[in-house]
Each structure stands twice: as structure tokens, then as C-alpha cells.
Symmetry: D3
Subunit: 253 residues, 6 copies
């Protein structure tokens, strides 16, 4: 049930403890994909997953600005600090929980949000305010079942395919070649198990990682299907997860 | 130019210092209007105003959760603390300013956001980070020119009319009578110039203030037109406003 | 009962739940009125209102520095950030509430404090720590009953009259003409319902808004009388106001 | 020059870099002395010291609520957290410094404020915002020159004497015997160099430490004189103290 | 050069820009391994890596308490919030940078610290205060070269082996069987790419993950050697890494 | 019982409510004594005191970086802000209390930590989270019993002697003369009871205060013995101290 489109009396009549909060980012995705990519994809996956879920779940509005300072050298990238992001999302979830929707899945569309979401959900869980987990949709895909070479990247084949499926007019097909040619093959610069880079401008000329031509709308449809299934399965589990935490452990000896 | 729908290279090619940030709230608007009313209306006004403005302005994504604890007794209302809201919006504007869009109008759809937006814009202005002002669309309307009795309320004729115009399917027309009859006539409880109430549940049975039947889609169209004109005029002024502040004043005697 | 002038055993013997906290600001009030105007006026109104109130109320000391960055270009203006002001006043009220004085009226003498006081009182109210409301004395006056043209301004006729009444030696009568002539007629610069100005130095040469000659000690006496009555009436209401908040609302359909 | 009583144009005409900020506390001082003792004494010392100082110094309004949770079990004690106190006082000093008064002496009347004032002044000094030091008046007295047995206490002979001198009507002489008899001889409970007590209610029945009968108005006059001299001497030194900090030190070998 | 063991004049004579900050955690590591395991291992790796590095690097003291709420159900686990941890480590690095050691490697011994360290180092890097990276020693090991089945776990073969090598007396060999038998095979509970567990008490009876018998002191020696080499290599790279960040990117089309 | 060296099952089997947290600082101690002096001494005293205490007490790991900005001009000094230090130590103690060790003595080795430790322990005590007190070892010594002229200083005879006793190889005996000759006699610059200095670089050429030759290893042994006894005595008292606070006090008249 899309919270934003219903009245308070409508949602007060629901009988569910589940809420879904899409969280994106507005940031560069190369010359070919829109700045709103992570918002579009998180929203599309959240809607599809809620639809596929057999029971009822409340779909909150999508939070559009995330932790994206790593892309700030590219015009149009919006970002907030980790602290502000954590507070804003955590308090939004607290308000959901105040209405009884205290099993929450955050559907995340941006890699840079992952750590902050895990932290804020952990805070809510340890406070026993809500049981909340972040679901980063591209980490829940069975890529092998779609195409063995498909890899996430940034503005790469995975994200581009999903936008080509849900909002095809927003992908500039005429720029795909340039996007691929001036992009980077992998994310970051690595040594001794450490990523030396903090900004995508350190390793990608145009902000792209991966070859966005390695997909297309059909791949996008498969990705959405796979992510929606993973989310629906997750909702079923989260619905029955306790809000209370394990007790203090006595010595086992 | 809708930032979310264009690539970073597109927006890097613009020649403007203007950005528009719509800010709403997801909160009860009575039994007849959607919880997303303030998001819908702020977005509609921002889009229409940017369209009407003769030059170019960057349209940022709409921030959907605001300062709405005053409605928290009604199911579905989402809110964050004033601190978190100020930080989230302020840092979003800072990121816009980092790209050269440092004359910013926040288009606001919710009365509860007004003080917080004024404060955070003041912080940005006094830091000389950006020149930013909040434009609360329903405060910029020439109501007399539309209908002499039209008053803002909450889920009342002004907001309901605008939703009836832009998203008619989201207004439950069959509940308008109940909405009006169980609503309140005015906002708050007043004595000695002080509003004694902090929560809408203190003075409205169903969350409504004002009679939502005192409008309609045609009024909504007029409201949108009036707000768009006011916003376009404001953008013209803000474009030429300095970011720097007045100097320290010497004694005038 | 003036808290500062009595011993702890004296105030422990009172039987009241009411406290009054005067809050001012130390800031420019033109060339003719003292920097302490808002402290003097808030204190005078608080004392007069507590006197007029038929029961007992605890009068706390006046907090002298407020939210006044808007006047910082004028020498002598003191200010703190909104965050620090909110914390300082809120915790002061929490300490009052810890002694059983949990119905609190903040008597405010400065327009720049209004939003911050409303926010911090709201926090206390929603936490159910205390029932607290800010009373900005010049918003509680029945101006029509005094003089139809009297308007607030800044260092204008309202504030100047009250200081002329309570501390006449602090008003430089020989500067009233200059104060009026180099002052501004209205507060701010307005377009599309938005105040474009953030600092009084943007629209007033000497910091004055309004003509301070449009009053005098007799008007000041009337203002004090009117404000004291409004405050006494408010105390009577606040005394009986509950600290607890309304319950969560079920759907009305 | 008393800032609060002069106009901004008056203080803009001064030629000094010195400001004095009195800081008190509103807290229990036994059954005989007023809750405002620390405000009264800090203000009296600050006024007398500024008068005695041969040059000009700006006297700011007195900050009335401090770090006094240690007395919170006694009705009427007001307090804020250390964090809020530090922020409020520090930002007040920052506003003084913005007008060129960047050599600041905080005149403190309460032992519980000492650590917090030292910390916040240190922050200002290390930021090179201002050169600021706290002067706790009763630590600047040459007690031996007044009476060899005079010791500070709390609501004891030192504070009581000063109030007897400056505001005699506020001391309840008829309660001095009870004050002394139910009070404590020393501050705290000590072991291994550690004060085990955190609250005065742990070691004093009525909040008093020391015998308030061991002084009187004549002693109060001597105390004020001694403190004023110490403050005037301090102002002379602070006036010439640099705001800049020492450079990083190279190895001396 | 071990900072703690030398005088300030000694370290002032060094000619290096490199500092190494070991960070551990004091937390349960099963019935057989000490609560200080992560402190011991981080310190051992840091010392060995600094020794192996051909140039000079300053070795800071080990920070002993980290982000470990996930183990709080097990007695003896110490932890601080992510916010406090980030502030404490970040400011420690800022102090190192103030002396010219502004290329910093944090040697981390605890998985729970990883996200917080990455965030705080990112803050320092983006502020251009220092170039700092976290090196989590067990992520820098070439496990294949040691034993193909070796996996990290918690109190498992990797950590236990290293303690067996550097502080053998602290491992209770007689409890290894129990440790293995009541432990868990993997970390967490997974569905749809999401770890549903927030606390180790949710999936491990005694806090152990992995079989601590799958190693031994000889494996520990190899691990230390491998980690030291990886760290020395990293230091060589970090030494030459710029503190300044990439410039804002113009549109590439 | 040294927490770091035992397993969680070992410490879960203890029957005590006492924990000891050593806190030091890593900062200049002149040309002759190590930067780690305050860590070494706090640790040595804590270990000796826990040993001497007749019952059981949990010894936590030593926190190595404190409030030491006052020494930042000398290379190698590490420090964090007071806020970060308070949060880090307070939360560490909260984690100890969560396991039932809620009577806590912080053994402090650095004068600059004193105020911050008192504040954070006060916060814990007033929250009734734990009964915690800071024990600054050099304030608990009976100096008269050792040598009548022994005074604390900085890098002076007291600290130097203790390091000479516990880690003699870390004191550069060949630099003692230079240390003494270029050091300062007293701490700070005083006027009117106020220390005008905020940084040791303002009054000491090489960071030393006092003559480090006025002691030696034998004095160090006596100091350690005296401090250990004082700490053991304190533990006995703290063990039986209540965590709950005194009740609100009624008027005594």
C-alpha cells in the first residue's frame, strides 16, 4: 500500500507490521544515465517487491539524497553527511514504528549508503524500537541466473539496464559508447586489501565503472524480477522477526 | 531542468546559478486527501514555477519527510526532528552550491516546516555559502484574486483543490462531507496571542481544518497558476541577489 | 514570587505548579534605546503579570542573550546560535519542572526568539516533561485599544514607550528624531510572500524600524498594563492545562 | 560601560578591547541566603572591578543559570548541562569578540562553573577567537588580609557577607543559627584524594557549608574591595595579552 | 619508531610523514581466546609492519575499545558508540597530522570497526587534513598461500593462531574443543543478500565462529608475516599519496 | 583480574562489582621522559592497586589519548577534544556497568584529564548508571611521607621517578640536566588567582616543570607503593557505595 497516495484513515485500517522505505541517491551516473538513477531503481524495486509480497506492507516515500560525497566532483551530485543521513532515515523509521509498523525493510539503491544504513538500523534494533534491515537491491540479485559476466559497477550494465527497463527515455543510448570507453573497469584503487581511493574522480574519467552496453531493457526486466522476488522473500521473514533482543549470556562453563 | 532526469554532463552544461528544492511532508490530511499532499503540492508548484521562469533553474528532487510531529497521533504521519530536518535540507543545499548553484529557493508545502526552513536558510546565508530563501507556496498566493473566503486550513479547501487539480484520483470525493463535518474551523487554541495547542489532535477530530468543499479542481488550477507566477517572480529576484552579507556597521553619530 | 530573592526553603514552601521565565536579548535598538531593551521589557512584563495573577507563580531570572544574529552588524549586539539558545532555555525549564513547577510560561521580549522558543517548548511538551508556552508580550497586546496606528517595529514606538515608562533615563530623547529619520518603515524586504532580508542592516540604516516618537511613557504604561493582563489570563489557563498529550487516534471510519 | 544600558551607537564609540561577562548560578544557598546569591555576587564584583579599572571595559549582562546539578535535590536550584552552558557562554563571548572586544574576563560567582568556564575559554583561546579567562571572584581574594579563618564554603561566611553588604534585605538573619547548625563543615566526602560526593545533599542537611555567622556586612565590604582590586589588576594584564598562540616548537636538541 | 617510548625531542628529529595507529577492540573471543585479542593482534601486526617497512614511520599507541555492541551480550565486551569511536580516532589522527605526520595507516584488528574507520578516514581525506586509510589486517592476508581452507570467523583459526604465536599463554588450549563444538560455522543469518542478525548471540552459543583448531602457532607466524608484508607495502604507497583531492570535474562532452 | 588477558567465560565467573579503568595521555614530558609517561604511570598504579586490593576487581585496558591540547606545540603530543574524550571514556564505563561492574574507579595519569573525568563520572552517577570516581594517582600521594620537597610538576621528579622505577630504560638520564635547566619552576602564569596560560609552551622552554633530578627509582618505588595503597583503600570504599542518588529534599523549616 503506497502510503503517500492514501489517507490516514485508509492506512489506519491496515493490519500489518511491515513497512518498506526506499532510499536512493541523486548523483552522477555517467554521461548516459540520469542523476536520479538510484532513486528510480530503489523505488522500482520497492514497488515491485511490495506488489509481489503476498501480504500487505506499507510503502513509504523514497528518500532522494544519500551519502555520495565520493561523487561530489561531478556536477549535479547531491549529498549529505553520514550523520545527517543516519538521523533523517532513522527518525523516519521511528515514525513508522510509532504507528505499529515496526518491521522495516529499507530498500537501498546506492552503494555509498550501505554502511550508514546498516549502522542506523542496528541502532534501532538494539534500542528495540524496530526490527529494521537494509536491502541493497543489487546485492540481492542472483547474477549467475541472468548473465554470468554481469557485474555491478557504477552507471554500468546493472543500473543502466534497470533504468532502460523502467524509464527508457532517461537513458541516452547515443552516449553509451563514450560512457564505456572513458569509464573505469573496476571500482577503486586497491593495495594490500585496501581501497586507496575515496572519490570516483580518482579512478574514472566520466564517473562510469563497468560497460553499460553489457545489458539492456531485457536484462533490466530480469533484474527487477529477481530483486522483487528477493525482497518479497525477505518481507516474509522480517514480518515474523522479533523486535526484542537476545538476553545477556551467562558463562557457558 | 529536472536534475534527476538528466545526466551530470547535461547539468554541467547549464549556465545558471539558480536551484529550486521542493520540500514536503508525509502526514495526515484528513480522511479525504492523501498523506502525500504536501509532497505533491510542493512538487507541482516547483515544476510549474521553474517552467514559468524565463531562464534556467535546476530542479532538485523533492524531500518527502518534514517537521510534522504535530500530526503524529494520526496514523501514517511521518516526521523527523527539527535538527535532523535542518541538517538534511541544509547539506543538500550545500551540495547544490558546491556546483555553482548558490541562489536557492526552497519550495515548501507544509506549515510545520516554515520555521526550520527559515533557520537553516539563515545559517547558509550568514555563512555566505548560498543565498537561500524558503517559499511556502500557500503564503505566496493572492487569495483575494481567487475567492475572498478562501483560507488555508489543513486538508482544507486550498490543499484539497490543488490535489484535485494535479492528482484528482487521490482525493476521496465521497468523504468530503465527513471531512468537513468532523474537522475544525481554525488552527489551534488561542489565548493572549498564544497558541496553546501543540498537536492537531488537540483541536481537530479527523485532522482537518477548514471546509475542503470550498474549492475544487478549478480553484486548484488558479492556485497553481498564482503560485507558479509568484515563484517565477521570486526566482528572477533571487538570481540577482548577492551571496555576500552587509559589512559591520559603524556608529552613525 | 521572585525565585532569585528567596531561599530554597521559602520556595519549597510554595504550593503552585506555575513558573514564569523571562527571556530577552541584548541587541541594538537604534541610537536612542538601550541594547538591553528586550531584557528590560520582558522582565517588566513578567513581573507585572506575576503580580497581577491572583495565585502564586515562581518568577525565574531573566535570560539575557538570545537569537539575534540578524542584528550582528550593529556593535554591541550579543547572540548565540539557535541550538545553544534552545538547549539553554529548555534545560532551565527542565530544572524548574524537576521541582514540580511544570506549567511554564516563557515571557519573551524579542521577535528573533519566537521560533526557537516555540520549538523548544514543543519538545518539552511532546516529551511530557512540562507544559510550556512562549508568550511574546508584544503579540499579546490589544493595540487597537491603545492607539489604532501603533505597530511593533524595532526600537519603534512600542518598545521605546515601554522603556520610557519603566526606565526613562535609558532612552536618549535627544536622538529620537535621528532614530526616526534614518530608520526603516517596515521590517524586511518582501516579494512573493517571502522576506528576502536576513539582517536588519539590509533595510535599516540605524537599526530602527518604525517611528519611536509615536508613543511615550503614557503609551508605555498602557502597554505594560495590557501585557500584564494578558499574561495573568494566560497563567490562569496554563495552570490547569494537562502535561500529558492526546492518545494515538484510531481511524474515524 | 554597562552594555545593556547604552545604545549601540554609544558602545560603537568606545575604544577598548576589553569585555567583562558576569556568570552566576541560581541555586540553593541554605535557608538564609537567596537562590540568586551567585548572580548577585558575580554582578557586584564585575561592576566594582570595571569601575575600579582605570580604562574602559564593556560590561555584558549577567548569565544567570549555570552548572549546578550538584544542588538539584534542593528546591529552586536551576541548572543546565555542562554542554549547554559551555555553548551559551562561549557563543556570547564570540559575539563580543565580533565587535572587537576580544580580551574577555568572565567574572564567575559559582564553584560548579569553574571547570566548564576554563574549558570554554580554552577553546576560544586555542581557536584564536579571543583571549578569555575566567575569574572566580572568591578565588582571587586575599583572605588572610581580611580574616585568617575565613573560608569559602557554600552559603557560608564569604558569600553571605557579600550579600549582606550589597543586598542586606535578602539575607534572613533570623535563620543564620539554623543555617550554621544544620550545615556541613566542609565540602564533600574525601578519601585517597578523591571527593566521593557528587551532590551537596550527600553531605549537608540544609545545603550550607561553613558558618555564615563568621562574617557580616563589614567583611562583605572588604571582600568586594579585594575582589574588585584583583579584577581591575587582571583587566590591565588581559588588555595587553595577545590573542595569537605560541608557534609549534622545534626539538630543542 | 614507537611514539610512546620516545621523548618529544626524539620524535621531532624524525624525517617522515608516516604514522601508524593500531586500533583494536576488547570483546569476547570465545571461551579460549582473550578479550584483548583484537588489541594484541592489531598491535603485533602494526609493530611487525613498521619494522618491516624500510623507511621510518611513527607508531602511535593502540586504541583499545571499539565498535563492538554486537558482542555485548557476552560478559567483558567493552564498546563505545560509532559516533564516539569515530570522533576519538579521527581527532587522534588530526593530532598526528598537526605534527606533520599526515599520511596515516590505521591498523585495525576488529571487523566491527571497519565501516566506522572507513568513514572517519574519508572525513579526514575530504577535509584534506590527512591522507588516511584503514588496514584491517585479516583482509590483507593471502590466505591461499597459507592454507586453502583458512577463513576468518571470530575467535576462529585466524585470530586464535595469531594469539598462539604472539602470546601463547593467553590461549586456553584445553577449551579449544568446546570452543569449536559450541561455536557457529558462519557469521550471521543470511537471506536475500541481507544479514538478519545484529548480535553474535543470535547465531553463536559461545561467541565463536569457525574452528579455532584449524590453525596453531605456526599458522600464526605465517599470518603475521603476511600481514606485516602487506602493511609495509601499503606504507610505501601511502607515503607518496597526495593529501589534496581531485578538482571539480567539467563536463566531458 | 586483567580483563584483556582472560576470556569472557573467565570474567563472567567473577563475583565483583568493581572495575578499574586506567586513563593516560600521550604527550610531551620533556626531553628525558617518554611521550607515554602518563599511560605507563596510570597503568602501573592501576595494576599495583588492583593487586593490593584484597578482593577482586576487573582491570580494563588503558585508554591512551586524553585531553592534552595544552601540550600540542610539542611534537608527538596526541590529544582529542574534551567532548570526544568524555564520550569515549563514559561509554566504556557504561559497557562495564552493563556486565554488573557498576562501581568504577578511573585511574588517571594526566592533570589535563581531571576536569573532564570528573564531569563524565558525574554524568554517570547522576544517571544512576554507575558509581564512578576518577582517582588521579599523583593527587592521592602522601608526599610528606616520602620527601617534604617533592612536588608534581610536569616531567618533573614525581613522574620521572615513577618511570625510572617501572620502565627505567625509557628515561634518558643523560638529558636530565638539560631537562631541569630549560624547564620551568611552576605550572602556568598567575595573576589574581587566575592562570593566564593555556599552553605549556607559554611558560616552559622544553615542556618540563620541576626538576626531574629531585627523585629517582627509589622515590618511584615509594610513590607507587603510596598510590597503590590509596587506590586499594578507595576500592574498598567504592565497592560499598550506592549507585542510587539522594532523594529530593523537602524544606527543612
Amino acid at each position: 500500500m503506497n502510503l503517500s497516495e492514501r489517507s490516514w484513515t485508509d492506512v489506519a485500517d491496515t493490519d500489518t507490521n511491515l513497512a518498506v522505505v526506499p532510499v536512493g541517491s541523486t548523483e552522477q551516473h555517467g554521461p548516459h544515465a540520469p542523476l536520479g538513477t538510484d532513486v528510480l531503481t530503489a523505488t522500482a524495486v520497492a514497488e515491485a517487491g511490495v506488489d509481489r509480497y503476498e501480504g500487505e506492507a506499507i510503502l513509504a516515500p523514497t528518500i532522494p539524497v544519500g551519502v555520495a560525497a565520493e561523487h561530489r566532483q561531478f556536477t549535479g551530485t547531491l549529498w549529505v553527511s553520514e550523520d545527517s543521513f543516519r538521523a533523517y532515515v532513522r527518525e523516519t523509521i521511528e515514525s513508522l514504528a510509532s504507528h505499529g509498523w515496526d518491521r522495516v525493510v529499507v530498500v537501498n539503491g546506492h552503494g555509498g549508503n550501505v554502511d550508514a544504513l546498516r549502522e542506523l538500523c542496528g541502532t534501532l534494533v538494539r534500542d528495540e524500537t524496530a526490527y529494521a534491515v537494509p536491502f541493497t537491491w543489487f546485492d540481492g540479485i542472483d547474477y549467475g541466473a541472468i548473465h554470468p559476466d554481469l557485474r555491478m559497477g557504477h552507471g554500468g550494465p546493472v543500473e543502466t539496464s534497470l533504468v532502460q527497463h523502467v524509464r527508457p527515455e532517461l537513458v541516452r543510448e547515443d552516449r553509451l559508447d563514450a560512457a564505456a570507453e572513458e569509464g573505469s573497469e573496476g571500482w577503486g584503487e586497491w593495495q594490500s586489501g585496501v581501497n586507496l581511493a575515496y572519490d570516483s574522480a580518482e579512478f574514472s574519467e566520466n564517473g562510469v565503472v563497468g560497460d553499460p552496453r553489457d545489458g539492456g531493457p531485457a536484462v533490466g526486466e530480469q533484474l527487477l524480477d529477481s530483486a522483487a522476488t528477493a525482497l518479497a522473500d525477505l518481507l516474509l521473514t522480517v514480518r515474523d522477526r522479533a523486535v526484542s533482543r537476545p538476553p545477556h549470556r551467562d558463562a557457558s562453563e
